[in-house]
């Protein structure tokens, strides 16, 4: 029904123009019945101007011609014929027709310009918004926003953007794209002729086959598509689905511009991705080199002890005492465990560096976690006084237990390793500004790195006196794990001496659940 009305829209324009002419004819008839008014035919110009301004060029011409004929038929002697008795009337009639035609064209021009200005204003707004949205770093989100914005801005039923390059197909759909949804992406894209010129993304309107493909071979006139091109290569297409079939229109221009912008943004994003990949490769390479150095040093030390101890035990010609044998065996076991820790840290670091961390969060009591970790690390911290300061009313925090356990363990081990026995290590937790804050403070000589953040880089060992036994991995891993939780890990030196490592975790609102309802 709506379709029919839309298809009848041009016809209605002509009908309205004719109705206006009829109305003016009636008015003139009424006036002429009482008195003769010179040049009363000029009243028709109102109908003509009205038609030109409101209905467009065609209806205006129709109004001019019918006015001319109606005036001739009804009011020029002899009445009810198209013949004209008086030659001066001829002149007046022709003059009227010319005036009507000219004014109608002028008015129609004006109307077109006003409409074009409105279109351009809309296009400009739309382009601005598209450009703004495309500025987002996440291309997928940007494309989704652009398609939705285009759908609203153009007032069409659906918008679809398809990318088909680098072996990755990506579809972003807004609104109803039913006529396109069934269609295969590849076959759809194949319908868009690729521009031979390398001069950029010159777009062409084309019609795309309906969803039923060539077996039905009915062209769906509601679908229009423009290709997306970058550097003369087709990388996808932008298509709109209209509410009703419509030939080419002003939207052509805006779609072409948007297509150009989109292609540019996609290309930029690809280049950025390539640059990121290259940077990752470079850093991986760098990491590998540092890793090799670390592996040769850090792994060999415990390996050397193990091989030496095991070898000693095999010596049959030396009568080892029971205590000596025991010491060799415990060395083997301890050094093997140390190796295992180093390997775990290396694995964690590789997960951190590759960005593949996905914390498996759940709600935990932070003080229970701190107690667990502090308790478990007793063997490591037995030379230190470890103090835990956690308020009783700490709310639950959403975290991945294993990962935050690891973070806190690394911080406490780090503190124990870099400070003198007998000094204090204080672990505290608090809530401030919607964040849970955990601090590990020690009484050592503080961090001597400059800038201080360098301690979080892999394989950087704190410059402390004595021989640090760490691998320089723990803090790097801790920072990566905290950041994967959306928090941050920092360090500062206290004025009274010692370092404070502090990490934050965002505290979200716990969703209401049935457990909350049955809360005792």
């Amino acid at each position: 029904m709506l379709d029919v009305m839309r298809r009848l829209a041009p016809v209605r324009g002509y009908a309205a123009a004719l109705a206006a002419v009829v109305l003016v004819t009636v008015v003139i008839g009424a006036i002429e019945a009482r008195a003769h008014v010179a040049n009363i035919s000029m009243l028709y110009l109102i109908a003509v101007l009205g038609a030109a301004t409101l209905l467009g060029r065609g209806p205006a011409v129709a109004a001019s011609l019918t006015s001319f004929l109606a005036y001739n038929w009804f009011f020029v002697e002899p009445i009810h014929t198209f013949t004209v008795g008086n030659p001066t009337e001829w002149f007046a009639l022709v003059l009227f027709l010319v005036t009507a035609m000219v004014t109608s064209q002028l008015a129609a021009d004006q109307r077109d310009r006003a409409r074009e200005a409105a279109d351009r204003a809309r296009d400009a707004t739309l382009m601005f918004e598209v450009a703004r949205v495309l500025g987002e770093p996440d291309l997928d989100a940007a494309l989704a926003a652009v398609t939705e914005r285009l759908r609203q801005g153009l007032g069409v039923a659906g918008v679809i953007v398809e990318l088909d390059g680098d072996g990755v197909r990506h579809r972003s759909i807004a609104g109803d794209a039913a006529p396109l949804q069934g269609a295969d992406v590849g076959s759809l894209a194949a319908w868009i002729p690729s521009s031979r010129s390398a001069s950029g993304a010159r777009a062409r309107w084309i019609h795309v086959l309906g969803p039923h493909g060539s077996s039905v071979s009915r062209r769906d006139e509601r679908v229009h598509a423009v290709p997306l091109q970058a550097a003369g290569r087709r990388i996808g297409m932008l298509a709109v689905v209209r509410l009703a079939p419509q030939p080419q229109s002003a939207d052509d221009r805006i779609l072409t511009s948007v297509a150009t912008q989109l292609a540019g943004a996609i290309e930029r994003s690809r280049l950025r991705q390539r640059a990121t990949d290259a940077e990752i490769l470079r850093r991986t390479d760098q990491l590998k080199n540092v890793l090799l150095g670390a592996v040769s040093h850090d792994l060999r030390t415990p390996l050397a002890s193990i091989v030496a101890s095991a070898g000693s035990l095999r010596q049959t010609d030396v009568p080892w005492t029971e205590a000596e044998r025991e010491s060799f065996l415990s060395d083997i076991e301890q050094e093997a465990r140390r190796l295992s820790r180093i390997v775990s840290n290396l694995l964690d670091l590789s997960r951190v560096e590759s960005g593949t961390l996905h914390p498996e969060r759940s709600w935990y009591d932070l003080s229970a976690l701190i107690d667990d970790v502090v308790g478990r690390l007793r063997p490591v911290t037995q030379g230190h006084r470890v103090e835990v300061r956690v308020p009783d009313d700490l709310p639950p925090v959403s975290l991945d237990y294993v990962e935050i356990d690891q973070v806190l363990s690394n911080l406490i081990e780090n503190a124990a390793r870099h400070t003198q026995p007998g000094t204090a290590i204080v672990v505290s937790a608090s809530i401030a500004n919607g964040e849970a804050i955990v601090e590990v403070a020690d009484d050592g000589q503080g961090v001597l790195e400059d800038p201080i953040d360098r301690v979080f880089e892999p394989f950087v060992r704190g410059s402390t006196r004595g021989t640090p036994r760490g691998t320089g991995l723990g803090l790097a891993v801790a920072r990566g794990l905290v950041e994967a939780h959306g928090g941050n890990l920092s360090v500062r030196n206290r004025s009274e001496g010692g370092a404070v490592f502090r990490f934050t975790l965002p505290v979200e609102i716990i969703p209401r659940t049935r457990a909350a309802a049955t809360k005792p």
């Binding site: 076991e333 093997a336 465990r337 295992s340 820790r341 775990s344 694995l347 964690d348 498996e360 759940s362 709600w363 935990y364 009591d365 003080s367 229970a368 107690d371 667990d372 502090v374 308790g375 478990r376 007793r378 063997p379 490591v380 835990v388 639950p396 991945d400 237990y401 294993v402 356990d405 716990i510 969703p511 659940t513 049935r514 457990a515 909350a516 049955t518 809360k519 005792p520």
Partner: protein, 237 residues
Amino acid sequence: MSPQTGARILVVDDEPALVRAVRANLGSRGFRVDVAESGRAALERVDLHPDLILLDLGLPDLDGLDLIRSLRGRGRAPIIVLSARGSERDKVRALDLGADDYLTKPFGVEELLARIRVALRHTLRSGADEPVFRTRGLTVDVEHRRVTVDGEELHLTPTEYALLTALVRHADRVVTDAMLLQEVWGPEYGDEDHYLHVYVARLRKKLEPDPQKPHYIVTEPGVGYRLLTEDVIADRT
């Protein structure tokens, strides 16, 4: 002589050095040890009706989790899973699929023996719940719903009590979050796991004299909890 002596243990692992060490240790303690180097071999040997299966999750030929499903389909022998640190998700899945416990590689002999002891004890007891559970100062009187620590009665909320009894039912064995949710909130639990750990933390605060040295309930990071009936060597570094 302990009733466990002579128990038949099937070791499924493809690492010869580890298998050798395990076989020597278990053999010297009177266990009869069968070895399968692959998943397929394990499926053949399981017909010998082992009393316990030690299963490495990273076998070359079969997926460890699939293997647990198949083994569970063929008998009730307890399964102790061996896996590397960092694969907590696999451990949880293995436990939820019916494995009884797990050990993280590398593990010590004492740890291995303790786990085997616990797993075999549970088979012998075969679910016959005693009316009063007692361990090192903690008593849980199921009949009268009374819990005491060192003679002092504890006031537990219904949820805390339900959690404690669930842990008691699996004493010394690891209980995953999913198992606890099932047993405490029933099969149609929804988002309650938001609170599970918080409830356990509260229960622990009431139970444990020193929260940094948990006596009864220990956390198995990323997996679940375990109620201890003896001071098992907490040999995790």
